[in-house]
Amino acid sequence: MALTTAPDPTRRGPGSVRAHPKRRGPGRIRHTEGLAGYVFLSPWLIGLMGVTAIPMLLSLYLSFTDYDVLTPFSEVRWVGLANYERMFTADPSYWHAVRVTVTFALVAVPLKLVAALGVALLLNRAWRGVGLFRGLFYLPSLLGGSVALAIVWVNMFNRDGAFNSLLSLFGITGKPWVNDPDWALETLMVLAIWQFGAPMVIFLAGLKQVPTELYEAAAVDGAGRFRQFRNVTLPMLSPVIFFNLVLETINGFQGFTAAFVLSNGTGGPVDSTLMYTLNLYITGFTELDMGYASAMAWVFLLAIAVITAIFFSTGRFWVHYSDEEDR
């Protein structure tokens, strides 16, 4: 089963209406089916409008106002681009949050993916325990996003935590890492990397798809282990790497729970864990500055869209699809 990142337009399916020439006969049936289509689609359509589209437009409008939830809609003041101006020129903590978020993603995402790929390669050699190991490595991905685990994590890196007791075995005196502005974000990065299991499972699936013949051919040509990895595994795996990279980066930018728990919702110590979404939450729901928070949300959305677009446009140069010749 191939890993599908996007609908394949050449297949029969929702992507292309043309794929079905009118072979279903009389227009009456087509009509009932068209109607049925919208009947079945209606919950989704209502959700799209009510929960997604209208709120998005509302937030676009609000981003040009000074709306706080307490004043009625009729008294909302239009402030033009003031929120955006403030964000880009007059709000150091905003840029601080951007820095924190980008740092987090730049460090945690690559390390997580390297860990995932490394362990996947170790596991890929076929033998009996693979299922058990795969499951155990995946467990943190299921638990890691929860408040409970964030609580455990914070305590683990506290003064009396497990990490310091580990260090003391080597004669190192630790410190309360989570209270240190220089180290608090790092503990969150470790938490993210600890959850390498989900991308690992996807890598494993990708590795299984690499045809054995390629390795045999490479071996015949005298390629050693490393060159096989570099010239066979990596290119063959590049679509999966790409998929994981996009997904994990977008997730990385959205880290909220652990930062909230570590700092008790403040982004501390000294704003060192002020992730973008936490900053947005504080602005919108603690300071009730919902107009400004809406502006932040829109910039966030655009940033993610741009990053995704950059990924996809650079992907052409390094992502190798083995069925390319067929197209």
């Binding site: 709306y67 638990l143 409970a148 930018f253």
Partner: protein, 294 residues
């Protein structure tokens, strides 16, 4: 994708025995130890006495102290039993909502022909990557304007979107699954006089059970672990779900709360852990076919 037992057991002839199995096993065991350490430490700490939490830094307690569990259970004015009930209710209703609404939408996308289908499908794919944080402010305002935030039944803002197929991920997963159901079955049913509704009822619905189960498991786990939306929409103590209630422990700065806090953390992860044990294979395969994050 399923690893058949034979495929696992077969030695791979293609590679030289360069990677020694024993060495590899040792490395893997070491990684497992690192990965599981926080979890074992969590469970160990949850049964340590207050004194031991500070002084005994080992994994396991010298004296087993289950008192943290009873203390944590009734640490706040509202008992954790209530919080667990609230979480269970929200999670189970989310499972029902996602299952129903996503199935309907997926059937339309996968099998029916109607105007603008391609457009709507592209829109649905577009919402896959839409961060929930972007929508939270306007959704809050909207639900508040409708009087649903902190209303008679404060869970409506959490649940209404789930009954409207807004988790595009599950729609996509089901569409992918339904594409694999042979169209000949539809044709046969059509010849027998079934319309779109009949085909859904008698062919697609029964055959989509595996996709429904995957959706149900992930819906449950994600909602059970979710914090952001529940934090925003729940404001009364008695309405709190488990994750929101757990953060109350952080507020109480006293050291004496650590044991009870850990005990309740362990309990809160227990349902997810049990799901993991019961459906491990399915969960792992689920993310294989669709690439979910954890």
């Amino acid at each position: 994708m399923t690893l058949t037992p034979t495929a696992v057991a077969l030695p791979s002839p293609r590679r030289r025995p360069g990677g020694r199995p024993l060495l590899r096993l040792l490395i893997l065991v070491a990684i497992v130890a690192v990965v599981l350490y926080p979890l074992i430490w969590m469970v160990g700490t949850s049964v340590k006495s207050q004194e031991e939490i500070v002084n005994n830094l080992g994994l396991l307690p010298e004296r087993f102290t289950p008192g943290n569990y009873t203390a944590g259970w009734s640490n706040f004015d509202v008992s954790f039993g209530r919080f667990f009930l609230n979480s269970a209710m929200v999670s189970l209703l989310t499972v029902v909502g996602n299952g129903l609404s996503c199935l309907l939408a997926a059937y339309a996308f996968a099998r029916l022909r109607f105007r603008l289908r391609g457009v709507w499908f592209a829109v649905m794919i577009g919402t896959l990557l839409l961060p929930q944080h972007v929508l939270i402010v306007p959704q809050y305002i909207l639900f508040r304007t409708l009087g649903l935030v902190g209303g008679e039944w404060p869970y409506l803002p959490l649940l209404v979107p789930q009954f409207l197929a807004t988790e595009a991920f599950f729609v996509f997963l089901m569409v992918q699954f339904m594409r694999g159901i042979p169209r000949e079955l539809d044709e046969a049913a059509r010849i027998d006089g079934a319309g779109p509704y009949g085909i859904f009822r008698h062919i697609i619905l029964p055959l989509s059970r595996p996709a429904l189960v995957t959706t149900a498991i992930f819906s449950f786990i994600w909602t059970w672990n979710d914090f952001f939306r529940q934090l925003v929409f729940l404001s009364q103590l008695q309405d709190y779900t488990v994750p929101v209630a757990l953060t109350l422990f952080i507020d109480s700065t006293s050291q004496s709360a650590v044991g009870p806090m850990f005990a309740m953390s362990v309990l809160s992860l227990l349902p997810v852990f049990l799901f993991f044990v019961a459906f491990q294979r399915m969960l792992v395969e689920g993310i294989n076919t669709s690439g979910i994050k954890g």
